[in-house]
Symmetry: C2
Subunit: 301 residues, 2 copies
């Protein structure tokens, strides 16, 4: 998995601080997660190809997480996109987009599918033979979901030399990679483990923004390889979390610890903080390793 | 008048090319004209204060002219704006904005007044004792208006030395500046022109984007000091104007010539052209002077 942070600041876009958007590349997919104002420019800046984006996941309808969506869709249209586009987001997102397309008389020539979310239980919203995507119900001022991306098992790794030694016909290689036992050219039974080893370990990534501290998400994100959890404030401003329903860096780290995740990535910083290292050091008092999201940063998961 | 170009490119925002937005400063007003995606960032970049903007004029509902509006309004809210905000634009703009405010549960604490436009005749949409603003009906793929900003007469310039010589009481100075004749301390009739001269010449500015070539606008914009007229294409691509309802640089210059304007400012360039000087030289075959808008450029009118 490769995660590119296009924007990771809260509230309003500024000259050197973009609002939330990120692209997760996994098993041939380029999933766009949230789409703050100016996301299309950040996609260009980081040379991410527009046409590779087929699925867009919107956490909630606060502007810093979706105001760039209508512009991105319009640009897709102007660039004569043909590929289908799937948008997953809270109920109402379809009305917002279609009202603007209607009033500008700018219907898209590509298919635009809306998958509106209303459930407060975690549900599978996308699945193919390589990846599944689940919602993570979050606690915020309005209806909000995080998203969990889980890779399916990779093929087993075939030792071709050994397979040839064992006189196995090439036609069986695919089946071996998929884990089957087979018969060789001499009719001898070959156990799969004799010629294969475990493949690449499938990875998982959880995006949780925006949210108040919520232990209810722990079982959903248990043991993910990487967790992006918002940390709008530091512990010294914890009181601001109550009204705004955001989290501190320490709270994010507590969730990471309880869920036993691989790596915690912090983001969604309030503009009041000039030194992001304070978020890292605060979180590290509870959990390690901690990474700081910054605009343009790329994480290999 | 001072005109700051925040963005002057057509279609889609790119890393170094912003879509349409400009600020006209005149007689204490800071009028925002159009508001493409990212306008709030360009306002910050050019150090234009958010709170000075009280009136926003939207020409039409193509995204490159208004996708930044909801973000700007949201930022005003986050910055705890108190001043009223007036938005002038095509019917539908109120629905677009209020739907998004409603779904995000983010109603503004300041008053938001919508003045929705439907008329295809030029009309006065704003007036105070210093400035009037009129619509300029344009021809485009959807309902579109340009805007004409006309300063009202400035006070006459009082020659204080002469007035004292003529034994005029200071209490009459205001009346003299406003053009009245008066009686001096000796009861002698003083004609206004004896102690005043003509004041600063009031200025006018017309913004015309987007539009096909339309001579119908000539009487409305007659003799304006500066005309911003779109020139999406060069004459060599004139055929593209027919379907898209845009203008060439030459057509813009022809309108400027017929309307006998002071200066023609070109903008709304298609991204297909790398050398903007071609627009200037093409327009200059018909009319002079011609200026090229570029992002961040400031014009004194």
């Amino acid at each position: 998995m490769k995660l590119t942070i296009l924007g990771c600041y809260s509230a309003t876009p500024r000259i050197i601080a973009q609002t939330t958007a990120q692209v997760l590349e996994t098993r041939g997919h380029h999933f766009l997660i949230d789409c703050g104002e100016g996301t299309q420019i950040e996609l260009r800046r980081h040379k991410l190809k527009f046409n590779q984006i087929k699925h867009i996941f919107i956490s909630h309808l606060h502007g810093d997480h979706y105001f760039g969506l209508i512009g991105l869709i319009s640009t897709f249209r102007l660039l004569k996109r043909e590929a289908d586009l799937y948008i997953y987001g809270p109920k109402g997102i379809k009305d917002i987009i279609t009202l603007q397309l209607k009033l500008s008389k700018s219907w898209t020539d590509f298919n635009l599918f809306f998958h509106e979310l209303e459930s407060t239980d975690s549900e599978c919203i996308f699945e193919d033979d390589k990846v599944s995507v689940y919602t993570i119900p979050l606690i915020h001022r309005i209806y909000t979901n995080g998203f969990l991306f889980v890779e399916k098992a990779f093929d087993r790794k075939l030792n071709v030399e050994k397979a040839e030694e064992k006189n196995i016909d090439k036609a069986y290689f695919r089946k071996l990679k998929q884990g089957s036992d087979i018969l060789n050219r001499d009719g001898i039974f070959i156990k799969n483990a004799e010629v294969t080893s475990i493949g690449v370990k499938p990875k998982s990534y959880a995006f949780c923004s925006d949210t108040a501290y919520s232990e209810a998400i722990v079982p959903i994100i248990k043991s993910v390889d990487a967790l992006y959890h918002e940390s709008t404030f530091l512990e010294s401003q914890e009181s601001l979390c109550i009204h705004t329903k955001h989290s501190t860096a320490k709270q994010a780290a507590t969730i990471a610890k309880k869920a036993e995740v691989g790596t915690l990535i912090l983001g969604h910083y309030s503009s009041r903080y000039k030194d992001l290292r304070l978020f890292k050091s605060e979180a590290e008092t509870v959990f390690r390793p901690v990474e700081l999201a910054t605009d343009g940063k790329v994480f290999a998961i």
